[in-house]
């Protein structure tokens, strides 16, 4: 088991190095001079310019810059934002809880609706319910979520006034102190009446938007895997034993049907991050996705570089964790390769 884990871990090392190389090269190729961006339009004396360059390490040869970059990364230094002068790592992890909160909410939304919906569709195969659900699933799967977000804002928030338009909490009404960075927890900790409810209200639309594609995938996956399981012998045995349909489907079949569904959930971490970029931009949700887009607008390349690096690193680690988890659950994978 330990050997399996170490093997998988070792496989990620080259990926990490390649990732460093990729982000480094990408940022080198950017047209325009980061120093000039920092200095602004007015310009400064050549001496100050040279000093700035030296500070940023831009006067060194390229290979040295790369070596320094790797060295710094290995020491947990992901660079300093040119615009805010904050450590990229600090900025990232200040904003990251907002993204996680949104992603977890969206995933729960997708699972809690998608699994029952897909199960019922499998049981009632061919019914109008099944057909409607599969139609909706294709639509959800094809949804341009940035448009879906705008549409929901237009109808739910603006026209019907049911939810707020953007943000995580009403900052005028409620004092917000980031103790954990998770608004749902912070609002409870703040002890203010109504703060939690307000935070939930703010979360609803972004959650639906980010959860739509996973919801479509999960309900579809649950349906097809449930259909497969329902024709298995042990399900027939359970039925023959005289167990109630609810027990047969809910307990015996669903448990096995969920294995591929869990795979899909594990694999969708990456697409959740991509979706978060769009969702956060639409709802002015102060997470890492919106921050990444803004840093491009500000030509804040260290932030972009560090941000891409960190997001990818997290995804690699999550995938590794998922991989190892399968190894634990399923010995065939562990001994396979």
């Amino acid at each position: 088991m330990l050997l399996f884990f170490l093997k998988r871990l070792a496989l990620t090392v080259p990926t990490f190095f390649a990732l460093m190389f990729l982000t480094f090269v990408a940022i080198r190729l950017v047209p325009g001079d980061p120093v000039e961006v920092r200095v602004g339009e007015r310009g400064i004396s050549p001496e100050r310019l040279a000093q700035f360059r030296a500070e940023l390490g831009l006067d060194q040869p390229v290979w040295k810059q790369f070596a320094d970059y790797v060295w710094a990364l290995l020491h947990g230094d992901f660079g300093t934002s040119i615009v805010t002068n904050e450590k990229v790592l600090t900025e990232f992890f200040t904003l990251f809880p907002a993204t996680i909160e949104l992603a977890i909410a969206a995933m729960l939304f997708a699972i809690l609706i998608g699994v029952p919906a897909g199960t019922i569709a499998a049981v009632k195969r061919g019914s109008w319910y099944d057909q409607t659900l599969m139609g909706l699933s294709v639509t959800g799967f094809s949804m341009p979520i940035f448009w879906w977000g705008l549409l929901l804002i237009m109808l739910v928030a603006e026209r019907w006034g049911l939810t707020p338009v953007s943000g995580r909490v009403d900052l005028i009404k409620y004092f917000y102190e980031a103790k954990t960075g998770f608004m749902l927890i912070d609002s409870v900790l703040s002890g203010q009446k109504g703060a939690f409810g307000d935070a939930v209200h703010h979360l609803i639309l972004p959650m639906i938007v980010l959860g739509t594609v996973p919801l479509a995938t999960i309900s579809r996956m649950t349906r097809s895997s449930m259909l497969e399981v329902l024709s298995e012998d042990y399900v027939r045995t359970a039925r023959a034993k005289g167990l109630s349909p609810f027990r047969v489907i809910g307990l015996h079949a669903l448990r096995n049907a969920l294995i591929p569904v869990v795979t899909v959930i594990g694999l969708s971490v990456g697409s959740m991050m991509a979706g978060a970029v769009l969702t956060e931009t639409i709802f002015s949700w102060p997470g890492v996705g919106k921050w990444l887009i803004e840093s491009i607008g500000r030509r804040d390349y260290p932030a972009l570089q560090g941000g891409v690096m960190l997001i990818s690193a997290i995804i690699i680690l999550v995938n590794l964790a998922v991989d190892v988890l399968y190894g634990v659950i399923n010995p065939r994978i562990r001994h396979g390769r």
Binding site: L19, I27, S142, I311
Partner: protein, 301 residues
Amino acid sequence: MAAETALPASAGASAPSPFRQLWASFSENKGAVGGLVVLTLIALVALFAEIIAPHSPLEQFRHAVKAPPVWEEGGSWTFILGTDGLGRDMLSRLIYGARVSLFIGLTVMCVSFVLGVVLGLTSAFSSTLVDTLISRCMDLLMAVPGLVLAILIVAVLGPSLTNTIVAVTVVFLPRYVRLVRASAMAELGKEYVVAAKVVGVGKLRLMFRTVLPNCLAPLIVQSALGVSEAILEAAALGFLGLGAQPPVPEWGAMLADAREFIRSNPWIVTLPGLAILVTVVSINLMGDGLRDALDPKMQRS
């Protein structure tokens, strides 16, 4: 697979039969046929945009800024779907937008298909070193979430239509390479490949004439679905202001500054997104049907 093994895409002779077979099982799927019909319509509209579009997509009608569509109060038949914030005809922009989106989707698909086949086959047929090198590169590209990678590439190259295509291609290339590599690897041990080798077939011929035709089925499905994904991804980039730049009538870019019209002029927000959705849904329905027709056992990942 067995049926295809017997017939490695030999043109002429009894050529229509595999296609007829394919069409027979494809046409059983109502959704797939519906998708194909809608997609054909969209393609025709895109192809004959000059004839169909009532106005130029770029012309600004200053007297009719934000004119409502015909079914709303104050709408007129001059601008059937209304005009946008600069007084440009929405219908004409949507029609030309179909051209832009389909162009992006098809270009990305063709380039990734060709590169995917070349890299994938090279990977499968080469020494461990080359194989590892290609595979690791693809792993790397897959480690970065699609849109984030595309954003990084566009940030580096600068936003434009061409760079959108480059970025989206780089994002989707690994899937093609992996798919080709995996299916080629699976074919390599089979007897007909061994036989071809024994007969002394050259490496290139072995790769492209012997093995490739037998890897095509999953690749075709991936390509069909890849078009819709490319369109979505490009539209997302356009929406973020990192894709096609104004005044190009790209559907995603049309939504980029639609936010300010949410209260006052909802059609400016609704229509471009609807266009994207309808196109992508019809391609996906068609792709699903194609997948079921080509190989009932294959599952969407």
